[in-house]
Every structure is written in structure tokens, then in C-alpha cells.
Amino acid sequence: MVFQLPLLLALPFAFAVVMLVWRPASRRTTAWLAGIAPLIGLGLLAALTPAVLDGSVPQSIHPWVPQLGLTFSLRLDGLAWMFALMVLAIGVLVVMYARYYLSQNEDAPKFFGYLLLFMGSMLGMVVAGNLLLLAIFWELTSISSFLLIGYWSRQNEAREGARMALTITGAGGLALLGGVIMIGQVVGSYELDAVLAAGDLLRAHPLYPAILALVLAGIFTKSAQFPFHFWLPHAMAAPTPVSAYLHSATMVKAGVFLLARLHPALAGTELFFYVVTSVGAATLLVGAWNAIFQHDLKGLLAYSTISHLGLITMLFGLSTPMAVVAGLFHILNHATFKASLFMAAGIIDHETGTRDMRRLGNLRRYLPFTSALAIIAALAMAGIPLLNGFLSKEMFFALALEIEGHAGMRTAASVVAFLAGVFGVAYSLRFVHDTFFGDGPRAVDREIHEPPRFMKIPVEVLVVLCLAVGVVPAWTIAPVLATAAHGVLGDAVPEYSLAVWHGFNVPLMMSLGGVIGGGLLYLGLRRLINLHAVARHAFGRHLFRVNTRALLTNARRFTFHVTDGSLQRSLWWVLIALLAVAGLPTLTALGAGAGASQPMPALGWAVWLVAVAATVTTVFLHRKRLLALLVVGAVGLAVSLVFVLMSAPDLALTQLLVELVTIALMLLALNYLPQQSVRTDNNARRWRDGAIALVIGAGIGTLAYAMMTRPLDTVATELLARSLPEGYGRNVVNVILVDFRGFDTFGEITVFGIAGLVVHALLRRARIAADEVVPGVADPLPMPSNLSHLLFPLALAVSVYLFLRGHNAPGGGFIAGLVLAVPLLLQYVLLGSQHVESRLGFDYVRCIGIGLLVAAATGVVPMLLGYPFLTSGHAEPRVPLVGELPLASAMGFDTGVYLVVFGGAMLILSMMGTVRPPRAPTGKAVPPAPAPAEPTNVEPA
């Protein structure tokens, strides 16, 4: 366990957060802050280096989600060390470069913050010791690179490039995640040590092809392998420091890093060999060929990057230990020369205002020093001897020629390698020639001079490195490479020599041929066609665009077709689902076994007939609303008569009262709704709806019949038996309501009270135009009012009676509450709301609140005594004069019910009765104009 590793990882994130939160105003502070993180990181890395060079692997493990196998485990082997070094070192240089690159009006803290985030993600990925953790950092690099690429977010190109990169690499990341999880399932652990040791197990597992496919999908997208390469050139919309960092040393290297990382676990099969090598080869050629035809400096570099990544991939595909060494070597080399080239391109852009080679030229006169640096780096890219690129390319040629056991592959690889060499030289030549030589620059509107000193230093450092490695590899790069190779191959590191001179051999010939061929190709192309006039279509981007657009369009078309906001359609689907899930499969299984019906008394038939006839009539009359309402009233009456017949007096009473109040509500509402339903649906639709209605009705009816004719076996006997002795009530229904299942009732009155509140909230400030206003003032109704004055106190007495009797006879809080409310409603109807409310000023809202509290209090008291909520009690205190007074605590609860029901019902009714008409423009309430004309919109079928 070492502390340096977590610290190393935490630094960039911590500094990023500081940067983004603090947002230092001074550019210098910002840059220093951004630079300190990797500098300290390098220090930490240096501290760990001796151990790593000794071949040990410093680790730090913290548990995270152990059940998942996800640990926060960091591990610095040679490979990780090499990458960390690269990430941090080039990171420092990029920060230094960017400090001068960014113009004065740009948001530097944001830039450096994002950059540090990316750096941290990248570091995390390379030092992760757990595959899941690696996948996490992998995706973090996608996210942070999204932010970096889109940094110049005002530009369409930047936004599109960022989204494209995120989409492609994000997709790859998800595939990788899948692959990682599969690896974990096969190996039983995500720990890298375990996974790397389980190569044989993995390769032999039936899931191996799937794992390989998923992991490679991640690698290929990230490393811009053909055919996923097209995102990379578009990522060039990013500021150049970003390109220099992401597309030379880090982001795109993540893919090949993983290839190296998992080499022991996944490589070594035919499948791996063929797939990776061919994809690498294809990428190598496609990238190199395309690079020749770019006009944008960064475009050229981007395609060249693609090509070099193809080369590295191909090397790893070859799978031999030597190929791995070569791959690692080329990773380093490419990072150095490509970073310096990007930076040089940035300087050029910075100084001339353009990166278009058609407008550039002859810059060696204006930027002699920068030109020299860039030319050296470009030669390294071309693989010219004494530069680092040459060494690894040489190795590549050798390896291609040495492929064993695949003769065809050997030939193909060698041809590809040679062609790549040719193309590489050609585009490097183009880069050098079109920029620094020839005519130009054209149409450049500023004075061109060398950039600030510190902007060049990073380039210098890198170019020096190119040279040093190219000239004295053994003293410079050898230990690094050996360490990294040991990290991948362990003790299987082959013997190799990093000498500049291996004698005249075939690879050297190939290199030579490449240089000559490349030169000829470039010159030939210049002769044959006007290179500057070639317009390359970004086919990949086009495809991506078309697909994205098609995806969006179709998603939209589909979504808005399906979820068109139609209630009818939603309901229709509910019904269909009902039939599918509950109806058809069950009814077939229901079969016989239903018992017989009992005979029915005459009154029963009359009630049945009333209900049936009224229901049918409702359906046919439904468009004439008042009539439909009347007829529905009859249905309700019939239903309550059913309850009467079937031994349910409480229900009958409740149904009747609720029916009355419902009619009142509907009438009140009808005043504000059209009196008739406009028919907007066609016959076909009505038949369709009728059909499904009948099917569902038949289904429910059948189920009901089947249920009713089965023998009964319920908990009811116990309820009946315990009602009187323990619930102190004879009316078992009421005892259930206030005692056995008092909690239900509690919920029920809460619903009721809330309904009142909702209506209040909806209508208090509303102004609604009546559908039609009868002219004139209200008729005084002296005679009915007079009678209702007489009735009112009597009805109140009956209400009290029903309330007190409820526990032993039909009645109870709910019924009593409504018997209180309905007469009051009558007063509203006959006397007008103003008359009533000015004299009986109830605050119905508080009434609801008090009712709820009273009910709750009855439940809470037993809690204080150590019994559960709502435990009922009973007492018969002797009251002087009155005698024994039977008191069940349930009565208290019922009082709450009474209050809530009364308050809720009256709140609803009074709110609906006192809706104000809309304000006229003058601000005075006037009788509303006729209702707005109904738009005769045809329903979507």
C-alpha cells in the first residue's frame, strides 16, 4: 500500500475543482495551478520509480463496492508507469503551451479545469488496478474530452465534433463495460492481477469471442480505428493544446493502452490475431492515405494519428512479445513527435490566423525556429533515421516480415507496412513543403513573428526528445521501454536491441524505399493533380450526421405518433393490456365449476330492470347531459336498492346521500360545461369502442359471477364474533370502519379532506364563465325557503341521531356528516350562497383540519398508554342525572370522520357554488359572454 498513488490520482481532480470553483482571475495563477498538479505528480511518480524499475508493483487498495467486485485499487506496474509518465510530462508541456495559446478573453480556469479533469481521468485509467475502475476512468476520459473538444462551444464544428467523439467513444465505453463485466464473471474478479493471470481461462471460455468483441469495440472506438476513425478529425475543432494532448499522448492512446493492458489476458488466439491485425492494418492505410489529402494542418495530423494508431494496433495484433515491445515504443515515439507537431501547428495557426496549407507556405522565413522544430518532428513522423520514429518503424517492418505461420498474412502485413511507410513520407513531405517552403503565405492579415518564448519551450523539449531517442536510444528510452514491456509481458520480455544501426537489412531497405516512394508519390501527386483542389468528403461524418438525424427524426415521429397526448389512446391501451394480461388467459381457464344462482324476489327484478334500463338509456342519452344526469340518478338509486335488498343498510344510506351530493356537483359543473356533447367521433370508432366495452363488461361480469357462486370462506366469522365484546358495537360494518379497519377509514377521510382542499385550491382564484346565463336576477323562493327553515334544525337533529346511533345501528360519522351537509346545501340552493355564508361563517378548511386532528388524537391516546395506534377503548361512566353513558373511544374517531366529511363536502359544494365569472376588461364582473365556440376538431383515429 502506497499513499503516493491515490495522491497522484487525486491531485488533478482536486486542482480541477479548485480551478472551477475559485476561478482565479489571473492567467498566470491559473496556469501555475494547472501546472503544479502534474509537476507534483511527476514528483510522486519519481518517488515510486525505483520500485517500479525494480520490477515490483506498488499498489493501493480501498474497498468500494465489494459485492460487485469493485475496489478502488490502484496499481503501478511498468506499463502504468510509462503511461503515467507520458500523461504527466506531456501534460506539463501542454499546460505551459496553453498558457500562451489561449487568448486573453477566453475562460482559462474552465479550460485548465477541464484539462486537469481529463488528466486525472487518464491517470486513473492507467493506474487502475481493477477493471471496473478502469472502465469508470475510461468513460471519464470520454466525458472530459467531450468538454474539451467542445470548449469553443460557439462553433458548430466544436459542438458537433464533441458530440461525435462522445457518441463514438461513449458507445465503445459501454461495450467495454459489457466486456469487462463478462471478464469479471468468467474470472470471478475484476482485480487486474487476477484477470491478467487468468488468460488461459478466458481464452478457453465460450464467452471469449463475445468478450473480445466487446472489449475491442471499446478499444477501436477510442483509438479511432477504422471504421470508427472518423470522429477524430472532427475532434480537431478543439483548441490546439487539447489536440496536442488528447490526440498524441492520451485519449486516443487509451485504446492501445488497454490493448497492452489486457494483452496477457486476451491476446494469443487466432481470432485476436486476425481481427486486431487486420483492423490495425486497414486503419494504418486509410489514415495515411487520407492524411495526404488534407488541407488543414491539424486535419493532416489527425489522419496521421489515425494511421499511427493503426500501426500500434497492428503491432499488438501480431501478439508476439517483440511486437508488444515495438508497440509500446511507438506509443512513446508517436506521443513525442505528434505532440510537438500539434503544438507547432498551433503556433502557426496562432501567428498566421490559419491552418489551411493552401494559404500557408514559406513560413521558414517568418518563423525560422519554429519551422526547424516542426520539420524535425515531421521527419520523425516520416520515420527518417536518427529520429525516434525511425526506430519503431524499423521494428515494425521487421516484425511484419517475421510473422510466423501465416504466410498470407505476412505478405499482406509487409505490403501494408511498406505502403504505410510510403504514405507516411508523402504526407510528412506535404506538411513540411506546403507549410514551410514554396510560396506564401497568402491572404494572411497579420504580421507573422515567432511566438513567445515559453510557447516554444514545450516544442523544443519534445523535439529534443525525438532527437535524443533517435540518436541514443539505449541511454534515453531503453529503461522506460524495458519497464513498460515488463509491465505487459512480465518475464517474457524478449531480447531486443535499440541500436540505431542494425546493418543493411530488409527493414532498412523498406525504410529507404519508403522515403523514396513517399517522395515520388508526393511529387507525383502534385504533378498529376492539383492537391490543393482535392476536396475530401468526410464520408464517416456524413454517415454519422445522416444517422443521427434519422435517429432524431424517427424518434420524434414515432414518439409523437404514439404519445400524442391523447387520453383516449392511453385509456384504450389500458383496456387492451387488461384484456391481454387479465382477460383472455384467465377466462379460458375459468371454465365450469360455477355454482347455481339463488332465486330472486320480485322487488329484486324491478330494481334490476330499473338499473339495466337506466344504464342503457344513459349510454344512449349521454350527449344530452342533463337528461343523462337524471337517468344516472336512477341508476344510483337502483344500486342503493340493491344494497337494501342484500342486507346492507349502511351502504344503501351512504349510496343515497353520496348520490345526492354527486348530482349537486354535476349540476354545478354542468353550468360551466356545454349542455350537449358535440359528436366528433365517427361510427367506426363508436363501434370499436362499443365492442371493447362489451368484451370487458362481459369479462368482468363473468368473473363476478364465477366469484359469487363459489363457497365463501372469510375472516368474517371472527369479525362478527369479536365485534360486540371487543369493539363495543353491534353494527359490525361500523365497528369495522372505526375499529377493525379504522386505519382504512383514516385514509379515506384523508382522501375526502384532500378532495376538499384540491377543489378549494382549484377554484379559489378561478374565474370561469358559465355556459349560459339566465337573464335576470334570481327568483326569490319564499315558500320553499320557509319550509327549509323548518326542516333545517330537524335535519340536524337527525344527523346527530345517526351519528350517535352509528355504532349499533345503521349510521355513523360519514352518513351523519352528509346528513348535516345536504340540508346545508339545500340552504345554499334556496337562499343563495351569500346569504348562507354571511350568516353561518364556517371555515370548512379548518373543519377538515380539526376533524383529522380529532381522529388522529383518538388514535394517539392509546399510543401514550402503550398500545398501538387506534386501539379502541370503552368506558361507561356514570353521569349524574343522565345515568350510564356508554362511551367507545371509536366515537371520538367517528367525530373526526363526521367533521372531515361535513367540512370536505361543504367546502367542495360551496366552492363550486361560488365560482366568479370572468372579469370584464373594465375590471367589473359582468355576465359572461356566451361560451367560446367549440372547435370541431376531429379526434385522431
Binding site: 414518439t559 409523437f560 397526448g565 391523447s566 387520453l567 383516449q568 344462482s597 339463488q598 332465486p599 339495466v612 344504464t615 344513459t618 349521454h622 344516472v632 341508476v635 342484500m646 342486507s647 349502511d650 351502504l651 351512504t654 349510496q655 353520496v658 351530493v661 354527486t662 356537483l665 354535476m666 354545478l668 359543473a669 360551466y672 360545461l673 366528433t680 366495452a693 362489451l694 370487458i696 363488461g697 368482468i700 361480469g701 363476478a704 359469487m708 365463501l712 372469510t714 368474517a716 366469522t717 369479525l719 362478527l720 365485534s723 360486540l724 353491534r730 382504512d744 379515506e748 382522501v751 375526502f752 384540491v758 377543489v759 378561478a766 345501528a809 363550486m912 367560446p932 367549440e934 372547435p935
Partner: protein, 115 residues
């Protein structure tokens, strides 16, 4: 008797469903009302159909299902009635407001569909 009630439940359901599928708010509310009748009858019938044995205890009568009907479904229906009423009230008011705000009592009208 069972058949009659079951057929009534079926009919009420069918009528309710049909009205529910009409596109006008008032029709929908009528449909919901009919559906709630059907539902209440169905729950009620889960205690089976017993004539003349209301669950109000009398002295000297054994407290068994032979003498009293099952009280529990009745209590459930009571709760259901009350809740249905509350919901109806809210729906009616929303229908009023919707018509007033959107200028139409078509349940889907007055808006641009999906925002």
C-alpha cells in the same frame, strides 16, 4: 340472483367503459360514475348475496355467517364509495377548469398535444 347481479355489473362496466372512451369530459365523468357503481357492486358481491341478514348484531343470535351477511365487503364498499366521490369531485372541478382555460371540453383539446 347471482346471475342478475353479475349481468348488471357487466352492463355497468360496459357502459362505463364506453362512456370513458368518449372524448368529452362530462361523458368521461359519467363513465367513471357508472364504473364505480360496477366496482362497488362487485366488491359488495364478494361477501355473497344474502337477503335479510344485515350485519347488525342482535341478542341471542349466534354470530356466524349463517345469521349475518359478511360485513367486511360492506365496509370496503363504503370506503370505496367515499373515495370515488372524492375523486369525482376533483375530476369535475378539473373538467370545469380545463374547459374554461382551454376553451373546449374535449379531453384532448386546447393544447398542442405534446409540448
Amino acid at each position: 340472483m347471482e346471475f342478475a347481479l353479475a349481468s348488471l355489473i357487466g352492463l355497468l362496466t360496459a357502459a362505463g367503459v364506453y362512456l370513458l372512451l368518449r372524448a368529452r369530459s362530462f361523458d368521461v365523468i359519467l363513465g367513471l360514475t357508472l364504473l364505480s357503481y360496477a366496482t362497488n357492486l362487485l366488491i359488495f358481491s364478494s361477501g355473497r348475496l344474502v337477503i335479510g341478514k344485515p350485519p347488525v348484531l342482535e341478542d341471542g343470535v349466534a354470530t356466524t355467517l349463517a345469521h349475518y351477511t359478511d360485513p367486511l365487503p360492506q365496509a370496503l364498499v363504503l370506503t370505496a364509495i367515499v373515495i370515488a366521490f372524492a375523486m369525482t369531485a376533483v375530476t369535475i372541478v378539473i373538467a370545469m377548469r380545463s374547459r374554461s382555460d382551454n376553451g373546449s371540453d374535449h379531453v384532448d383539446a386546447g393544447g398542442e398535444g405534446m409540448p
